[in-house]
């Protein structure tokens, strides 16, 4: 029980190393990766089972690592981390199923490393450890885009890495400064989150430090103005990576803000709040309009992703319980919905070899199941009632109205934003008459339906019985919100 989290964390890495050392065949590798991801899912479910709803940080494990500088291997989870952990554990097996036919081994190795990276980000309670995982998840993505991507893959891989590293460098500097300050004031080095929260800074320093963290997260999310890596990276990346980018990695930016930004910098974040809110609001409108004229399915849904992440970030910065619950809820449901839609774009791409919208159409008349699932996920992204997205958007909009009237009005445009492009996209993708590329479009196979059905069920359950998940988050969020509000005063 003590080492459950560590096992979740390092099992994929271990599998990757073992398989790599043994130089196994592609079949073995495929089975091993899928098996390991299932085991991880099992462990994650066990963790969720033993998780106490109102217990704060749990499954904490602490062992010294580089003790001279106070860097510890320190992990633990609270409700939100657990939520993300479950998402990761759920989505990874589906990705492995979706790339079952893949012959390039690099896919599997990189995805295994990626899984360790993203899981580590969610669990890390030590800032250096966090940074380590934060950067390590970038590397497989860089390799995957560069090696297996499409289009201008080298340029786009460079673009994503340069932009995100720009942010993480600033964060690293801030982390080191924090550790040093702990050394200077308390007398020994420490990078533990709980230690660093005790530190006090003068307002100017703390605003700079908070800004450094914010930059890293803003680029990862990405907020408006830091987003130009997003669409190229999405369009160049292989499907598996797009799913991870959209469903998991972007969410980790928000998670980082929540875990580190809001814990370490209650006051200075107040300084940034108006600007961040402005960026989020611009983002909601901007991304939606931007998506209209895109010609590539991946790019369209990349922008849709951006709009929703802006909405989630907005919810986070409203700092009231409605918006926080809504934000976290959207985090989960959008992860599921976007995983679904990008997996389907992958399936579509395998069938047509082309995801330019102009070359598609008429799928609904020859592949009704595909059309049903695709339309379902697209509608789930627009936040149709009955899917989880609606609940989340409703909560965020209410939270935004509580914050300020005009913020609420702009936040409510998210209801309009998604439909502007998604319905047109559906029209040109699914409906109408078939074209050259879609003439022999095969309907979904049993495996593919098996991949997508869990996602559909989750979306429906979260939409119809939202209190299940909301109650799960409520205690943790309320406690953190109280702590945050206390810190501000």
């Amino acid at each position: 029980m003590q080492h459950l989290l560590s096992m979740i964390l390092f099992l994929p890495l271990l599998v990757a190393f073992t398989m790599g050392l043994l130089r196994v065949s592609i079949e073995t590798l495929r089975m091993a990766t899928f098996g390991s991801s299932l085991i991880v899912l099992l462990f994650a479910v066990v963790v969720a089972f033993y998780f106490h709803l109102d217990g704060g940080m749990q499954f904490v494990h602490n062992s010294p690592w580089i003790s001279h500088y106070g860097i510890n291997y320190s992990i633990g989870i609270d409700a939100l981390s657990l939520l993300l952990l479950l998402l990761i554990a759920l989505i990874m097996p589906l990705i492995f199923l979706a790339i079952w036919e893949e012959q390039r081994k690099g896919y599997f190795y990189n995805l295994l490393l990626l899984q360790t990276g993203v899981s580590g980000v969610v669990m890390a309670q030590d800032l250096i450890l966090f940074y380590l995982f934060w950067e390590s998840m970038l590397l497989p993505i860089f390799i995957m885009i560069g090696a297996y991507g499409y289009g201008m893959r080298h340029f786009n891989a460079m673009k994503i890495i340069i932009m995100t590293v720009l942010g993480s460098m600033s964060m690293l500097l801030a982390i080191i400064y924090l550790g040093y300050t702990h050394y200077a004031t308390v007398g020994f080095w420490s990078f533990g989150l709980s230690d660093l929260t005790q530190l006090a800074f003068d307002s100017k320093t703390s605003i700079l430090l908070a800004g450094a963290f914010l930059l890293a997260f803003a680029i990862k999310i990405p907020l408006f103005g830091f987003h130009t890596w997003m669409a190229p990276a999405y369009s160049s990346a292989p499907t598996a990576i797009v799913v991870v980018l959209s469903a998991i990695m972007a969410k980790l930016g928000v998670y980082g803000l929540y875990r580190f930004g809001f814990t370490l910098f209650e006051v200075p974040l107040g300084f940034y709040t108006p600007y961040v809110i402005l960026l989020c609001l611009i983002g909601i409108v901007f991304y939606s309009i931007h998506a209209i004229m895109q010609r590539n399915l991946k790019r369209i849904f990349a922008f849709s992703s951006g709009a929703h992440l802006s909405l989630i970030t907005l919810g986070l910065f409203m700092t009231n319980i409605y918006a926080w619950s809504g934000g976290m809820y959207l985090l989960a449901t959008h992860a599921i919905a976007s995983a679904g839609i990008f997996l389907m774009i992958g399936m579509l791409g395998r069938r047509t070899q082309d995801i330019q919208i102009a070359h598609l159409g008429g799928i609904a008349s020859i592949a009704p199941r595909f059309a049903f699932f695709f339309a379902f996920f697209a509608l789930a992204i627009t936040g149709v009632p009955g899917t989880g997205g609606f609940v989340a958007e409703l909560l965020i909009i209410i939270g935004a109205f509580k914050y300020h009237f005009w913020v609420g009005v702009v936040a409510a445009t998210t209801m309009l934003g998604a439909i502007l492009f998604i319905f047109w996209t559906l029209q040109r993708t699914l409906f109408g008459t078939t074209q050259e590329a879609t003439k022999h479009f095969g309907d979904l196979s049993a495996i593919e339906i098996g991949i997508l059905t869990p996602l559909v069920i989750i979306l429906l359950v979260t939409g119809i019985f939202p209190s299940l998940l909301l109650d799960f988050l409520d205690a943790s969020l309320s406690a953190n919100l109280e702590a945050f509000k206390g810190g501000v005063k």
């Binding site: 340069i162 987003h227 901007f286 319980i321 319905f423 029209q427």
Partner: protein, 626 residues
């Protein structure tokens, strides 16, 4: 009782799910249409029975004790406590009564109508889903759940309007319907957000809101009221959000019947009536609503007068009749408004189903000027259509007379003479364009024959007969304001009319209607001419005031060019430009430095010597300084 109420909502969704799953699983089309039709018809039939049981049980109870059915807590965050709880009061009772009844008739009709379509199962999945959504909307006990139903109705209409999805223009129509509806929903959700924050902590069910709004400022209430009405505009196709309605005719005819009679468009009126307590606090917003309604009624009537497509004529007539309802609810005559909604459901369903019968008999011909003399060929349809037309033109004793008269009289008695004049004009136009349709389709070209007519089945004819009887008789429910008293909505009082005035107004109404019929007969009785755009004002009417073109230019083109602008300029030039300056700076610097590395050993030697020389200078300086 609670269980029955829950079942009314749950059953249609359940059967929609079963139908949808069957359709998806059955990829080889093994399941027969009978299988789908059985499930699809059983559900609304059961639901209708249940709702009748409830209606009879409820009508004996006092009107202020609604029936509640609590299912589960939907959301509980902070002060936001939303229960999935259904409420059945007199208003929702009337609504579920006619929604389920007329909905069932349309289902029966649709089984025959859609018989040969390959998407038969899918169609009924959508149909049941539509019905369920509408019922959810109606019985919701708080605005949030109502909004869910509201949205789902929009989704269902999207799916059904775009049912023939191989033709791209149908999907465009469906998109238009959904997007315009969402614009309205945007108003709705903003209103709900403001209202919730204003009432935070007092609960958010309709009862709680009714108790809580006393403490709110007048401006807040006006704002909320106006924005809620924006939602109603979208759903009920009022100016300026009506553009989706005529295009929505792209769907199969039963869909049009369902949208226009029993579901969807009635939602806006219902919602305003549901929030009647709120609008009573802000009569000036109510007047605004009434004016919007009046102008919608007039404009729609004008457009209908120049339309050639039989379904679009009916669509505009719906918009026009909805305008009447909004006049009523805007002026506080909620009972009258709902009564017109009720009667309208009967005759509009009948009109659409009749039109559908004509269309299907003529191999999907929709242009009325290609029809004529159908009176002899389709006698049952003709009779049914005639009854419905008489009802909509408010000729006594047909249903529309009672309800429309109540509205027009209310406008007159409450002193809104402008509204009254507009309403009378519209009544005249209504009679004109409806009888234009009747004359052109059933009377004109009395020698025309139809060799390839498709015979109509029983399942098409019987619902027509039932509805014809309904259209002829349900109006009597409204005698002496019986209906309004029964619904027990918070109507605003008007001065009681003298008997002379009352009979005078009634006579005027009938006269105006007869005048319209006479004009229609004069122009179209024997030898009709299709409308020609020979004078500018006519062209304006025929082209629907160019509103579609205007909206396209104003919104669609703007958004598209904005999107391209964002892509090329904001992202491409500005943001990447700034980034490019950063990275490009390094690149240029690198290029400059690279030119120092010219490959010539001598130059390198020079660098070394130059460095040594500089160091020497520094040393000399330091030594001297000592």
């Amino acid at each position: 009782m609670e269980a029955l109420l829950s079942l009314i909502v749950i059953l249609p969704f359940l059967s929609a799910t079963i139908l949808g799953l069957s359709y998806l699983v059955d990829s080889k089309k093994n399941l027969s249409n009978t299988y789908y039709a059985t499930i699809a018809l059983t559900t609304p039939a059961i639901v209708t029975l249940l709702s009748f049981v409830l209606v009879f049980k409820m009508s004996t109870m006092p009107h202020d004790t609604p029936l509640y059915a609590h299912l589960f807590d939907w959301v509980k965050v902070g002060q936001l406590h939303i229960e999935m709880r259904f409420m059945l009061d007199r208003l929702s009772m009337i609504m579920i009564g006619f929604i389920t009844f007329i909905g069932t008739l349309i289902h029966i009709y649709a089984v025959e109508y859609m018989q040969s379509d390959e998407g038969f199962g899918k169609f009924f999945a959508y149909f049941n889903f539509f019905l369920g959504s509408m019922l959810l909307l109606v019985v919701a006990s708080n605005p949030i759940i109502m909004f869910i139903g509201w949205e789902l109705v929009g989704l269902a209409s999207y799916l059904l309007i775009g049912f023939y999805h191989k033709v791209s223009s149908n999907i465009t129509a469906a998109n238009k319907a959904f997007i315009v509806n969402r614009v309205g929903d945007f108003g709705f959700i903003v209103a709900l957000g403001v209202l919730f924050i204003a009432l935070e902590g007092q609960g958010f069910s309709f009862e709680a809101i009714e108790q809580g709004i006393g403490g709110l400022s007048h401006s807040t209430l006006s704002f909320v009221g106006a924005l809620l009405f924006v939602g109603a505009m979208g759903k009920s196709a009022q100016i300026p959000l009506y553009v989706w309605l005529p295009d929505a005719m792209a769907g199969p005819t039963p869909v049009s019947a369902l949208i226009h009679a029993a579901t969807m468009v009635t939602a806006g009126v219902y919602m305003v009536a549901r929030f009647g307590f709120l609008y009573n606090e802000i009569p000036h917003i109510g007047e605004f609503i009434a004016y919007i309604g009046a102008f919608s009624a007039l404009i729609a009537a004008l457009m209908a007068s120049f339309e050639r497509d039989i379904k679009k004529i009916l669509a505009y007539s719906t918009m026009s009749q909805l305008g009447y309802m909004f006049i009523a609810v805007g002026l506080g005559a909620y009972g009258a408004g709902i009564f017109h909604l009720f009667t309208h459901a009967f005759f509009k369903a009948l009109l659409f189903m009749g039109a559908g019968a004509v269309i299907i008999a003529l191999h999907h011909e929709q242009d009325i000027f290609k029809m004529g003399n159908l009176r002899k060929v389709l006698p049952q349809t003709f009779i049914a259509m005639l009854i419905a037309t008489l009802a909509i033109t408010s000729i006594p004793p047909f249903a529309g007379f009672f309800s429309k008269e109540a509205i027009i009289n209310h406008a007159f008695l409450s002193g809104h003479y402008t509204l009254w004049i507009i309403a009378m004009t519209t009544a005249f136009l209504t009679a004109y364009y409806m009888f234009r349709l009747i004359f052109v389709v059933f009377f004109a070209h009395s020698t025309k024959t139809y060799p390839h007519l498709i015979p109509l089945g029983k399942m098409i004819i019987y619902p027509l007969i039932v509805l014809a009887i309904g259209s002829a008789t349900v109006g009597f429910l409204g005698i002496e304001h019986g209906f309004a008293h029964f619904v027990a909505l918070p109507d605003r009082a008007t001065p009681a009319p003298t008997h002379l005035l009352e009979y005078g107004l009634m006579g005027l109404n009938i006269l105006v209607a007869l005048g319209g019929i006479a004009l229609a007969y004069r122009l179209f009785g024997t030898n009709p001419e299709p409308p020609k755009a020979n004078i500018p004002i006519k062209a304006l009417f025929i082209h629907k005031f160019y509103v579609d073109a205007l909206y396209n230019r104003l919104f669609v083109d703007t958004l598209r060019s904005l999107s391209i602008f964002f892509d090329r300029v904001v992202d491409g030039a500005v943001i990447d430009g700034i980034l490019g300056l950063l990275t490009g700076g390094y690149k240029d610097l690198g290029a400059k430095l690279a030119s120092f590395q010219n490959g010539t050993v001598k130059t390198y030697a020079t660098y070394v010597i130059l460095s040594v020389s500089l160091m020497s200078l520094a040393l000399i300086y330091l030594l001297e300084a000592q």
